[in-house]
């Protein structure tokens, strides 16, 4: 192998890395040693060898194919930059390994409990009185000015998120009813093979995966920014997989950009990969895209799904109905968060909501901080509250709607007065 070729090969590796592929020196060394086994002269073999060694995600294959074609077709001097532009635009959003600029504001303290100690409170919060904060907790996101929404973001980052656990099929030593032969026998050796006490195993518990599918269409615009903060905070706080998607006319997965530890940078990256902000709403189509592309990959293991939308759908209602039913069948709990539920005169009459309601387990408001606190409570106690009676019949539907509507009583806050926690009243 000549030096020029090796040089080009390493350059190719660098180009791929810049395009967002996960290339490390070890991989490049592997590729070099693989070249001993194939005929480099045969371009397709070289292509396949590089492909199998350098790519390990299906999503990256098209990007690799194009970069390979562009890179090895002609010498670098005669590259047409315009050809690379297209590739660079489609560059993969970087994962958490990115180097981030210094933090401007404290990122959500994921390890801190919600009741952060007083020293950690920001200046803004210290200056706020208790009743101010209470007011803020109940103020509709859509009606907040810039300062208020900043303060709410701070408060949001302190919410304590936890999702109920499920029994996995993995066992560990414990008080279960399954006999642990290995330990029993080991123990019995101390008494010359006489079993006096059985050792047991019990199922290991793990938190349920969470999937958030958020509507970012025009009608949701007033809520979008704060809701993204909320999703970011939730993802940062939870240890289990949290998958996040947004849609207006089409579905975009934003899980990767949200992994970045710097919130501003994360949201900026989300902004870059989503290109239908504040567009129309096609919930049915978007859910279908989710069910097709992602359902099987992320819905296993008793996942909890949150859909955040006002239900103003301009798409096909039959489709929405069908896709909701499918989604419902494939997850453990389907929760629909609707910011409009916070309005006193809202009734879930839009066609979209009507089609979706029969398949929803919980229909909850998401318009102020108090409603998020309530959500946090519910997610942490999914097992305790039995699955709500649902909307299979006309009457059931009415019930679940009323359940949603009754929550409005919390939205007119007693002015600075004492109140029971929302969760106490809701359960």
């Amino acid at each position: 192998m000549n030096g020029q070729f090796l040089h080009n090969l390493l350059l190719f590796g660098r180009v791929l890395r810049r395009l967002g592929l996960d290339i490390n020196p070890g991989r490049m060394m592997d590729l070099v040693s693989a070249l001993d086994h194939i005929e480099i002269g045969r371009k397709s073999d070289f292509f396949h060898a590089a492909r199998t060694l350098l790519v390990h995600e299906r999503e990256d294959l098209p990007l690799f194919d194009e970069a390979f074609e562009l890179f090895w077709r002609k010498p670098a001097e005669s590259w047409d930059l315009r050809e690379w532009q297209g590739l660079i635009r489609r560059r993969k959003p970087k994962g958490p390994a990115v180097t981030h600029p210094p933090l401007k504001e404290p990122a959500p303290e994921t390890d801190e409990p919600a009741s952060a100690s007083s020293q950690e409170l920001s200046v803004m919060e210290v200056t706020r009185t208790y009743s101010d904060r209470e007011l803020l907790r109940h103020k509709n996101f859509a009606e907040m000015d810039a300062e208020e929404s900043e303060a709410v973001k701070q408060m949001m980052s302190r919410l304590l998120w936890k999702v109920s656990e499920r029994r996995t099929r993995r066992k560990r030593p414990g008080k279960g009813h399954l006999i642990d032969m290995r330990r029993t026998l080991r123990r019995s050796l101390r008494s010359e093979g006489e079993v006096f006490r059985w050792a047991y195993r019990e199922p290991k518990l793990k938190p349920r995966p969470l999937i958030v599918i958020a509507d970012i269409s025009g009608s949701m615009e007033r809520y979008t920014r704060l809701l993204l903060h909320f999703i970011y905070g939730m993802k940062a706080a939870l240890s289990q997989p949290v998958e996040a998607f947004v849609f207006s006319t089409r579905l975009t997965r934003i899980t990767r950009p949200l992994q970045i530890r710097d919130l501003d940078l994360a949201l900026k990256n989300v902004g870059q990969i989503v290109n239908d902000w504040a567009g129309g709403t096609r919930i049915g189509e978007s859910l279908k895209a989710f069910n097709f592309e992602w359902g099987r990959r992320v819905l296993g293991r008793g996942a909890v799904v949150l859909i955040i939308s006002d239900g103003w759908d301009r798409g096909n209602v039959e489709l929405l109905k069908r896709e909701m039913a499918r989604l419902k069948r494939n997850c453990h709990r389907l929760i629909w968060l609707n910011p409009l539920l916070g309005a006193p005169d809202y009734e879930p009459l839009t066609r979209g909501i009507q089609a979706a309601l029969p398949h929803i387990d919980n229909f909850l408001p998401v318009h102020n901080l108090a409603s998020l606190e309530d959500l946090a409570n519910r997610l942490a106690n999914l097992n305790a509250s039995s699955r709500p009676v649902l909307a299979r019949t006309g009457q059931g539907r009415l019930e679940s709607v009323q359940q949603g509507l009754s929550m409005k009583s919390f939205d007119t806050p007693p002015f600075g007065g004492r109140r029971t926690t929302s969760s106490g009243r809701l359960e």
């Binding site: 996960d22 490390n24 991989r27 592997d30 040693s33 693989a34 086994h37 194939i38 005929e39 397709s44 073999d45 396949h48 060898a49 492909r51 199998t52 060694l53 790519v55 390990h56 995600e57 299906r58 294959l61 996995t168 099929r169 993995r170 066992k171 032969m181 290995r182 026998l185 050796l189 010359e192 093979g193 290991k204 997989p241 069910n291 097709f292 099987r296 990959r297 992320v298 296993g300 293991r301 069908r322």
Partner: protein, 296 residues
């Protein structure tokens, strides 16, 4: 069997009726040459598991299969002690008035060897093919464990010691992508995505595997399946379905497709009720017309 070129490997695969794309051939060849695990992903029924079987046949060695599931643990993946025998042994000695030593009780004759241990046993003359099937069904705990085993091919059993092999197995890992497998594991492997085959490739597969199928029928079936894959279905039919369907139609003595038989046997191809309803009747007839016009 030692291969000296990708061409040689591919023709050996073909002799065994496995039609592989050049890319898959390259990945397999390099996996053998570099001694790296091969990570195969693809939709259900594109022949991922088959690759390992053929490979074992090619190398004339054992295929050791580990089917993954959630909660798969050391007891089922690596080794377990044969408790019943151990207890019998204790009782037997007791009856004779002897005492059993611990070393004896945890000796090799009481050890049940599970797939991972079998694959790296010292006594092996030839490297085995180790198929770790549907890794996406297992959980992170098992993945982490597997990563360890794959990095140095040794297993430690506290009672016996470390078991190591100089003949590490050829490892094939498959995934249906029902869950994202951790990057660290994928990074150790050669990666290949098995796509649905083209019309020509698929026809070749059908003819190689089911030579008894009439040529016309095989062409029509392949064309029909290819058309279905263009449709908006929940579960697209894989090559496995193509072969099943062909077998079914051959068993029914069909020499060509017609709308009635298609409707009656659609269950061999589509596995979701929604999909069957969508295709059955009118849609199937339309596809059939197009296919007949195209391939006959």
């Amino acid at each position: 069997m030692e291969f000296t070129s990708i061409d040689e490997l591919q023709s050996a695969l073909r002799e065994r009726n496995y039609i592989a794309e050049r890319g898959l051939g390259t990945s397999l060849y390099l996996a053998l040459k570099l001694g790296r695990p091969l990570f195969l992903e693809g939709e259900a029924g594109v022949g991922k598991t088959e690759v390992a079987k053929i490979l074992a046949d090619l190398l004339d060695t054992d295929l050791i299969r580990l089917q993954c599931y959630e909660g798969l643990d050391v007891h089922h993946a690596v080794y377990e002690w044969n408790y019943t025998r151990q207890m019998m042994h204790i009782r037997l000695f007791e009856a004779r008035g002897d005492k059993v030593s611990e070393a004896e009780l945890f000796g090799p004759e009481f050890l049940l060897r599970r797939p991972l241990l079998q694959a790296i046993e010292e006594s092996r003359q030839k490297p085995a093919v180790l198929l770790i099937d549907e890794i996406d069904r297992s959980d992170e705990e098992f993945e982490a464990f597997l990563l360890e085993v794959l990095s140095d091919f040794q297993i430690t059993i506290p009672e016996i010691g470390t078991i190591k092999t100089s003949n590490p197995p050829v490892v094939v890992i498959t995934s249906n992508r029902t869950r994202e497998v951790h990057d660290a594991l994928k990074r150790r492997c050669l990666y290949y995505w098995i796509d649905y085959p083209s019309f020509e490739k698929e026809l070749e597969i059908v003819q190689a595997r089911l030579p008894q199928a009439p040529a016309k029928l095989a062409r029509q079936i392949t064309g029909f399946i290819q058309a279905l894959r263009e449709m908006d279905l929940y579960k697209l039919p894989g090559v496995a379905e193509t072969l099943d369907w062909t077998t079914a139609l051959v068993a029914l003595d069909q020499t060509a497709l017609d709308p009635v038989i298609v409707d009656e046997t659609l269950g061999a191809v589509l596995k979701y009720q929604d999909d069957v309803e969508k295709v059955k009747g009118e849609q199937a007839r339309l596809i059939l017309e197009r296919v007949k016009a195209g391939v006959d």
